[in-house]
């Protein structure tokens, strides 16, 4: 017995190396080769996907608009608000501003004027407290005329300079790293004493939009499921030459430009559009009662359901096609009603396709942007439109990043829930 084991240990290759080591070396080589093959893709993904996401997440907690100015041409960096930041360091949160504090701001304003950073700093403070930007731009414009006593000089400019909220906002802005953008993304704001409160009613926006995005995305996912299930079933059970023809009708819109499909819906749905004209022409609707199907939620739901439909049909089709029809026939022959046979035999086999389709449609819908922007009007816009607005309109990139970060976290949670309930290995895309 021991002799045998010993003999096995001593197994060697033709050139005398131990077999185990040789095998390991050979495997390592092929693993390395496989890695080299995927390396370009890995680098590509790291550079174009992982790095931007990390950068975005960093942007959501970092904003040095109050503390650093970089010239766009020379890239020369100038620290800003140095005196005021020093005053903040020396005085704890909640200290009422004294003459020294106002003198510090007055000195800092001169720097702002010189490097033209008044707008930048004001904008940064404005993220924490509305109506602050104009106070800064005005003060910078008059910076050279400010004279001691500075407190009185600032009160002359604008009584709001004594507002504790403004001082709290400046203190928050003074540190480049902050969680305040995440607070803003859920309609919260830090009060002067450091506690967290809700923003004014007439400025609350994001919670409502997150809620609307979630509800509409679920509704759209459900609608695509209801529409796609029978289509996919038909496609899967028809003889191939008919089903291929029908498949074209699913794929053709899928291949058509998103913009073309969205604008086609605009032509169909607008109040002087095809659908309303048909309803009025056939006498179902009076001319003055045309239904508003566009520039509202209805428009968003209709257009997005159509645009995302193929993402539900295709996974469903791919799981339905290989289902053996004899299972259902067997169930029927054993006395099951057609409903029972469907419910107990056919439907469970399609669940992986439903899961895949639902996840795909839902995740796409949550981040959808162009269609709601074009047909959504005011109440059919989604959170992605606000992210786009902060990216390209208000240029509050930190808030855009925080909103996108929330969306990302939300989707990961849903993905995790899905894994918990259905299991990710049950996902079948085709």
């Amino acid at each position: 017995m021991t002799a045998e084991t010993g003999a096995q240990d001593a197994l060697v290759t033709a050139d005398g190396k131990p077999l185990k080591a040789a095998l390991r070396a050979a495997q390592a080589r092929s693993k390395r080769r496989a890695f080299y093959l995927v390396a370009p893709l890995l680098v590509f993904i790291l550079l174009t996907f992982v790095a931007p996401i990390l950068q975005m997440l960093h942007q959501s907690i970092h904003n040095d608009g109050f503390t650093m100015h970089e010239d766009v041409i020379s890239h020369e960096r100038t620290p800003l608000m140095v005196n005021l930041r020093q005053w903040f360091d020396e005085n704890p949160r909640g200290t009422a501003p004294d003459e020294a504090a106002y003198a510090a701001i007055a000195a800092d304003l001169l720097v702002l004027r010189e490097v033209k950073a008044g707008g930048q700093v004001g904008t940064r403070v404005n993220y924490e407290r509305s109506r602050s930007r104009s106070m800064f731009t005005k003060a910078v414009r008059r910076a050279e005329r400010l004279e001691p006593p500075f407190e009185a000089a600032f009160m002359d400019l604008d009584e709001d300079w004594a507002d504790p909220e403004l001082w709290a906002a400046m203190r928050s802005s003074a540190s480049a790293y902050t969680m305040n953008f995440y607070l803003a993304a859920i309609d919260k704001v830090r009060a002067p004493d450091g506690s967290i409160t809700n923003v004014d009613e007439d400025r609350a926006l994001y919670k409502k939009l997150f809620g609307r995005t979630l509800v509409l995305s679920l509704l759209i996912t459900f609608l695509t499921f209801v529409l796609a299930y029978p289509i996919a079933h038909l496609l899967a059970t028809l003889p191939l030459r008919y089903s291929n023809l029908l498949m074209i009708f699913v794929l053709l819109p899928f291949w058509t430009s998103l913009l073309v499909r969205t604008t086609s819906w605009m032509v169909l749905l607008q109040s002087q559009g095809v659908l309303n004209d048909a309803l009025v022409g056939s006498g179902i609707l009076a001319d003055e009662n045309r239904v508003q199907l566009m520039y509202n939620q209805a428009g968003t739901v209709i257009a997005m359901t159509h645009i995302l439909l193929p993402f539900m049909v295709l996974p469903l089709y791919s799981v339905m096609r290989p289902i053996n029809p004899s299972y259902v026939r067997a169930a029927r022959s054993l006395g099951a009603t057609s409903w029972t046979a469907f419910r107990r035999i056919y439907f469970p086999q399609t669940v992986p396709g439903i899961g895949a389709g639902a996840l795909l449609v839902f995740i796409l819908a949550v981040g959808y942007y162009i269609t709601p922007a074009l047909v959504g009007g005011a109440d059919g816009t989604l959170i992605s439109n606000l992210i786009a607005y902060h990216m390209t309109g208000s240029l509050n990139w930190s808030l855009a990043a925080a909103l996108a970060g929330m969306l990302l976290i939300g989707i990961l949670i849903l993905y995790w829930l899905y894994d918990l309930l259905v299991g990710i290995d049950n996902l079948k895309l085709g």
């Binding site: 766009v72 033209k116 008044g118 930048q120 109506r131 104009s134 731009t137 007439d202 926006l205 990216m391």
Partner: protein, 357 residues
């Protein structure tokens, strides 16, 4: 020797290419407005200087400019922006300063500084036109013709959808004027919280009937389609749709808001010298007058006024269609750029929250 010749030849060709590749990228507002600039500025500029002009469009060029400069990736050399945006971007150090001495004098020798109308020359910007936000209606879809800005906000007597630009600017002013505030009190009122609340309350009264537009080409389209019965619009767009395309659209001048459009050069513009040449060329007396024969916007130079004649159709006199025509100024508001420089960000924040409610 041979290598040297080849090197020299290569060098010469590349110089040749560099010369041929002289170009300037100009961003404007699209539609009939960009067309007027292409005809009046770009084509003659290229013919005269050999510098090609790339025309690109945006719903509002001020936004991409700011984003490009802040991201350090500037692709636009010249942009056409509104007054308050020109001043704001300049305050923030995002624009090149423009030396007024490079601007040509009027044909009679009046220097540019005196030839441009008040406010048209800024540290970083040169105005080319005076335009206005007006409201317009489609005669086929209105039983009674609206005559005042109050009618625009009166959906009881003038039922139907309204088109409004999806931004706070101009909407708040018009809402207050419709509420009976005199034009010269509008901005005093907007400086107060009550005034802003009042403006939003007025907008709120027609909120359910509003279709929002973003690009200047949309309002004439929405009106022609019958999608809205009245819409705010840039006056020149309505004029072109009505005159050049024979749409039954009419401009109501009551409550119009006058503004400049100005050329600016973003910091870091890739073709700075060409950009300066373009700005100087395009804002000379003849070019500004030519522009007015393609769309009904007033030239920013006094000396251009006399040269403005007929629309390109050769029939329509332009004078009465200009926002600055005497008859059109009875209840007009001049956009207070300082107010919007200071309050644009804040009011749009509130505007967005209001939209989503």
């Amino acid at each position: 020797m041979k290598t040297k010749t080849i090197l020299l030849a290569t060098a010469l060709t590349s110089v040749g290419f560099a010369a041929a590749a002289q170009e300037v990228t100009v961003m404007s507002w699209g539609g009939s407005y960009t067309k007027s600039q292409v005809e009046a500025y770009h084509k003659p500029f290229t013919a005269e200087t050999g510098i090609a002009v790339n025309s690109v469009d945006s719903d509002n060029p001020a936004t991409p400019i700011k984003a490009q400069v802040e991201a350090g990736n500037v692709t636009v050399d010249v942009a056409d922006v509104e007054f308050s945006d020109a001043v704001r971007l300049c305050d923030e150090g995002l624009l090149e300063e423009i030396d007024v001495s490079m601007l040509p004098a009027a044909p009679d020798g009046t220097p540019a500084t005196e030839d441009f109308i008040d406010g048209a020359l800024q540290d970083c910007a040169v105005a080319n036109i005076v335009w206005s936000t007006v409201f317009a209606y489609n005669t086929e879809n209105n039983a009674t013709a609206p005559a005042t800005i109050a009618d625009f906000f009166n959906t009881a007597d003038f039922p139907g959808k309204r088109g409004l630009r999806k931004t706070a600017k101009a909407n708040l002013e018009m809402a207050l004027m419709a509420d009976g505030v005199a034009a010269d009190e509008v901005y005093d009122m907007l400086e107060t919280d009550e005034g802003i609340d009042k403006a939003f309350a007025k907008l709120d009264s027609i909120k359910d009937d509003i279709v929002w537009w973003e690009a200047g080409a949309q309002p004439p389209q929405l009106l022609a389609d019958g999608e809205v019965v009245m819409s705010t619009a840039y006056n020149g767009r309505i004029f072109n749709a009505a005159v050049a395309e024979s749409q039954p659209l009419v401009v109501v001048w009551d409550g119009q808001i006058l503004d400049f459009d100005l050329f600016v050069i973003p910091k870091g513009a890739p073709n700075l010298e060409e950009a300066k040449k373009f700005v100087a060329y395009s804002t000379d007396t003849q070019r500004l007058a030519d522009q007015a024969s393609w769309i009904s916007y007033g030239p920013a130079r006094k000396s251009s006024g006399a040269l403005v004649g007929k629309f390109m159709d050769g029939e329509t006199e332009m004078a009465e269609h200009m926002p600055t025509a005497e008859a059109n100024l009875t209840n007009a508001l001049v956009n207070n750029f300082e107010f919007w420089v200071d309050n644009d960000a804040e009011l749009n924040e509130r505007f967005n929250a209001w939209l989503a409610q």
